[in-house]
Amino acid sequence: MTYQPSPLRLQREAARRRVSRQSTLVALISTIAIASVLVIVVTGAPGFKLVRQSFFSWHYAVSAFPHVLSGLWLNLRVMVIAEIFVLILGLLIALARTSHSPILYPIRLIATIYTDIFRGLPLLLVLFLVGLGVPGLQISWITNSAVVLGTTSLVLTYSAYVAEVIRAGIEAVNPAQRMAGRALGLTQSQTQSYVVLPQALRKVAPPLLNDLVSLQKDSGLISVLGAIDAIRSAGIETAQSFNFTPYVVAGALFVALTIPLTRFTDWLTRKQDRARVQQGQW
């Protein structure tokens, strides 16, 4: 005998479809309404033509693009190198801060002071101190390259943020997991690397990626030390023409760079939520 949905069920499904059709329609109408209000307000503004000319000029976008793109290549290299070092240093600091052994107390103390200082200091100040102060010491074996010193400043600041995120993940792992690991005969460090860290990192992956996206944008700040990145290239072009379109071009390129990473973060979060629902953790 084939399955026959009951009349009640058919009724319920029809009602659901109706509601879903209705909400799609409402969403569509409200989107169109808000979009048209925005378009009317912006394009109807008395200065719209002027703003379009100075921020969205196709002529200047085309002429600035190659310069901005070559600046972006510097951003890309800086962000990749910085991200690698930030993750390594952040993990080490988080491990130091969550250690329990009394002999490691000084390291714990140093790690705490480090995160306190570098999370609190504005990045710009760190850039000036490291990028202009360190070369000022005139120590011959320390580089005075703006790019290297700027990247170092980014690593110093962001590893403090990332360390705190990873620490939160480590502390969110139930202590019973650690005990279970020890009960199975794993050493302290084996428990850490095979039981605690995998769970901790999985928990904090989305906020971690969030910090990395933020780092991508801040990579442009090293231009205060003289390096020519995408934003600085845009600034140079703008100074020549008094037209702000090059900044918009740089902005579009930055967005194009971060969207894949944010989508990846979203996807990861959803996947984890689904897994948790299936495991019955909710």
């Binding site: 005139q138 390259s145 030390l225 140079i236 008094f242």
Partner: protein, 276 residues
């Protein structure tokens, strides 16, 4: 509201001058009728900090320094005595932003170019500027005699300046130039040896070499064709004042005031050798 306040102030000032029994002097006899931002007052913008030798002690209001003196001279020529001049701080990006500006004109070492003139109005030029290269005696380019000697130098400039264009267009060194937000940061990079030399406009170069650097020296200047790089006053595109302001600058040039002010406030720039 603001407008009413401005009228009230003007009226009060007029009443005040009558009650004190002032007879209006010849220059301000024709009460300035220009359509300025605040009627009866001339609002002049410049950046903060305002650099020496163009200004003095970061105080545009004191009339000292070349550009401060020129600004007051232009104001007087337009019929605004010093007491009717208001100064506002105008960072570079607000000078070049689209639309109405918060000053009647801005004076901040802005070079006139045809491309920029599409976005803002310029007065006629009030100063012919040359670019110069500053370095320290320790630097490897301290003894450079020609542009060819600078091929391997790492040079710096400020963003927004024509100095950057001088590096990329005239000197063309192999290393990518370093570009800084302000002359202060660029000077620090030069002191640190992070750059070999710094390109600045000639009067600023003399000031930096003498006052900001301990062992600073001027390698030389890059002579442009006469009148090819001039500083101009910046006005809102299509401003009703542009004509009058330009006429005032022209008058000051014709009667020798600009030359006299340059001689007074800018060091003698004839000493710098021309690099070819």
């Amino acid at each position: 509201m603001k407008k009413k306040l401005g009228i009230a102030v003007t009226v009060a000032a007029l009443v005040g001058s009558f009650s004190l029994g002032f007879t209006t002097t010849a220059s301000s006899a024709a009460t300035p009728s220009l359509p300025t931002l605040t009627k009866g007052f001339l609002t002049i913008g410049t950046d903060d900090p305002a650099y020496t030798p163009w200004f003095d002690s970061n105080k545009p209001t004191n009339g000292k320094g070349f550009e401060s003196a020129v600004a007051f001279a232009v104001a007087k020529q337009l019929g605004y005595p010093a007491s009717k001049v208001k100064w506002v701080k105008a960072p570079f990006n607000t000078v070049i932003q689209p639309g109405k500006k918060k000053f009647d004109f801005d004076i901040n070492e802005v070079s006139i170019t045809p491309e920029r003139a599409k976005a803002v109005d310029f007065s006629t030029g009030y100063y012919d500027v040359a670019q110069a290269l500053v370095t320290t005696s320790k630097s490897k380019i301290a003894k450079a005699k020609s542009i060819a000697d600078l091929a391997n130098a790492k040079l710096g400039a400020s963003v927004g300046s024509t100095s950057y264009a001088t590096i990329t267009g005239v000197i063309k060194p192999k290393a990518k130039p370093a570009v800084f937000d302000t002359n202060d940061i660029a000077t620090q990079a030069l002191i640190n040896g992070q750059i070999d030399g710094l390109v600045l406009d000639l009067p600023t170069a003399f000031y930096v070499a003498a006052a900001s650097l301990k062992d600073g020296l001027i390698v030389g200047q890059f002579a442009p064709k006469a009148g090819s790089d001039q500083f101009g006053l910046v006005l809102t595109k299509g401003s009703a004042l542009t004509k009058s302001v330009s006429a005032a600058v022209d008058a000051l040039r014709a009667n020798g005031t600009l030359k006299a002010l340059a001689a007074k406030w800018l060091s003698n720039t004839a000493g710098a050798p021309v690099l070819k």
